[in-house]
Subunit: 178 residues, 2 copies
């Protein structure tokens, strides 16, 4: 990703965190992961991540999604046969998030997805998260999500995170450890 | 605890959450635990807790401390021989928190503790947490904490919470499952 694009996403994510009134330190802003997931199209696909804590027992992150940014479909499989896969809770702090999981397809979903990504989105049961709303995904469940027009800030509480093991539906995605 | 005291703490905690700009739902306010820990002196000892999620893998709570309220000294021991004891991260969202852990005793600590509780506080190494600051405690570590004059809101990220197993230094404390 171009250095200029990384810097621009970092600045925009910092502005959203300020709007959400979530205090973060300057070093957390500097260390924020700007993840384009290897697609080189971060305006549409990607997210910005502050990892508060990730240890052998649990993980907590703040996820920032710029307006209409999408985290593409993926699941968290069993790792090293040791657990059932990452379990995670999304809690919306600011903005609006459209989360898609397995289940009955929602007619007229709120997410707007460019055609080139649509074929890799297979679950379309929509859950709308607004500030104070949350949703817990079982391990290994397929999911993807997009922010609304204002962008969004979402707290993620979960078991230990090993991003490099995540399985994405779109084979073009490249995810490295966060 | 008197119904009136519970209602008053709930209202004051809700005001602090609003000041902290942390969105919570009306049902979360209703379900908030008002914990006086059996001491019947919640102005000095106790806290208000919203449990966002507590499952077999991880736990996330919002802890509210009214001005100068203290969570008394305790530790999270190994439970059923299955793990090392609860591990937890405190992240300050609003106000100021004085956290005490084992280590060199801090001269002139910021916490103000009524004499009747002092003999049950054995660790006095002070860590000051302001908005955006966080601290992770190892399993089974003795700790206690007090809010500053404005009160405080602290996010707790942790392994599974089993409050009824917590061991308090003051034998008068009665902790039930949250």
């Amino acid at each position: 990703m171009a250095t200029k694009d990384i810097a621009e996403c970092r600045t925009k994510a910092a502005v959203l965190l300020r709007k959400a009134r979530i205090p973060v330190t300057p070093s957390e802003i500097d260390a924020m992961e700007i993840a384009d997931l290897g697609l080189g199209d971060i305006k549409h696909v990607g997210l910005e991540i502050i990892v508060y804590e990730n240890n052998d027992r649990y993980c907590a992150k703040e996820l920032v999604l710029l307006p209409r940014q999408t985290c593409p479909e993926h699941r968290h499989p069993r790792v090293n046969g040791r657990n059932l896969g990452k379990k995670e809770t999304f809690r919306c702090r600011y903005g609006e998030v459209y989360l898609y999981v397995a289940g009955e397809r929602t007619p007229n979903p709120r997410a707007r997805v460019p055609r080139r990504y649509k074929s890799f989105l297979t679950v379309w049961h929509e859950i709308v998260l607004r500030p104070g709303d949350q949703y817990t995904l079982p391990p290994n469940a397929l999911h993807w999500f997009q922010a609304g027009d204002k962008g969004a800030v979402v707290s993620e509480f979960s078991s230990t995170s090993t991003d490099e093991h995540d399985l994405y539906s779109d084979p073009r995605v490249r995810r490295v450890g966060g």
